[in-house]
Symmetry: C2
Subunit: 228 residues, 2 copies
Amino acid sequence: MPETPAKSRRKRRFKDAVYSAVARVPGALANRHRLELLDLVSQRPRTVQDLAAEAGLTVANASQHLQVLSRCGLVTVERRGTFAHYRATGSAVYRLLVELRAVAEAVDASIADAEKSYFGPRDPGIVTFAAAREALAAERTALLDARPHEEYEAAHLPGAFSAPLEALRAGKIALPRSKHYVVYCRGPYCVFADEAVVLLREQGLHATRLALGPAEWVAAGGEVELVS
Amino acid sequence: MPETPAKSRRKRRFKDAVYSAVARVPGALANRHRLELLDLVSQRPRTVQDLAAEAGLTVANASQHLQVLSRCGLVTVERRGTFAHYRATGSAVYRLLVELRAVAEAVDASIADAEKSYFGPRDPGIVTFAAAREALAAERTALLDARPHEEYEAAHLPGAFSAPLEALRAGKIALPRSKHYVVYCRGPYCVFADEAVVLLREQGLHATRLALGPAEWVAAGGEVELVS
DNA sequence: GGCATATTCAAGAAATTTCTCGAATACGGC
DNA sequence: GCCGTATTCGAGAAATTTCTTGAATATGCC
């Protein structure tokens, strides 16, 4: 390949342009607060002050971080009155986050350690959608969503029933004893399903945790259901 | 959920720890030079000075960038004598890069524009491995690797024959006219396969470009073949 | 219109990242 | 042992990112 200087310069300009543009996306992800905000908006659309309170940021600071995410298309904003509702963009972003977390955990054992010491020893439960499908194929098995009802309404796995941990705790939901239950929540880093399973088992019901949530489902190419 | 202040502090510490740790990975990717180095080492193991020259960096600077990538487990280094051979780590990283590029292109049309204006209008060819498998299932169809032979030796798609563009240009490779050819190179952003296809067609052969490379293959869960 | 509220903007200080340059280290060949 | 080379290290300047603060904008409600 007798590469002329002119051709080589052109190639460098092209590479600089493309790599600079691509690098903006990890640039937006390269901050713990923005990663947390991204996780929060992936649960359901949220306002700036809501997100700021949840993530322990000032409103102005949260707004700035959300704008960074927005500029890279990682979140979208919908304005209603004086409120700005930020939400996650879609499956491509979920896939990116799933891969990102996989790489991070593979590299840095301290992440898994922190999770273990925070959550305590916990039953991994069902960890693939294939296994979940198999479990649900059995007669008399139902899928329960242990997240707060608003999150269920925003998006849930196909065929799931809403059974918020709060409502289960308050005894507001009566489940048939004759069935088996597969319970999921936000994802591998959420404890709602764990606690719901404990609760159901205390009541003598047969329950298993599914350690995946809607984000993983969408990342895997699945469609979520809206409302009920 | 009556969240006590103590529990809430604990939760915040946990989240800070995990998100900080996860953010180190996009932090390592958030730089155009490191993205380029990552692409370069994913072609084949390379030394620091080789990478520095290719990416237009000083040796010291390239070394620093490679160390950043190395600390995050995105590349590994093998020392032979005074040389340090850096190479890509594995499939998880390839998947991350594929998703990263997908998100970046979805967000920023200027990336696709830059590619279009640099490469000129080009035949997309075959863009999925499923389609490639189908094409190759036909009788008398062979898979060709248009990359330099060292890259073929480092890793190639299963069943591929080495047919470096250079060698084809020099007329050093004689291909049976009776066959059909599917030609791939480094991936969607590489022109070797394009040019090889043009060359083969000029010779009256039937050739199609496969716009994916070993990195995409590994990302999709495939195994590459080593040596020949 | 006037007021309360949600969000964004703008400027500056502090922290982090990046690049350069010269020196240090380490290995192989003589 | 000495020299040449590949790589890494370290310090400092320059650029970028981050956070805070106070003000500005915009909307809804009275």
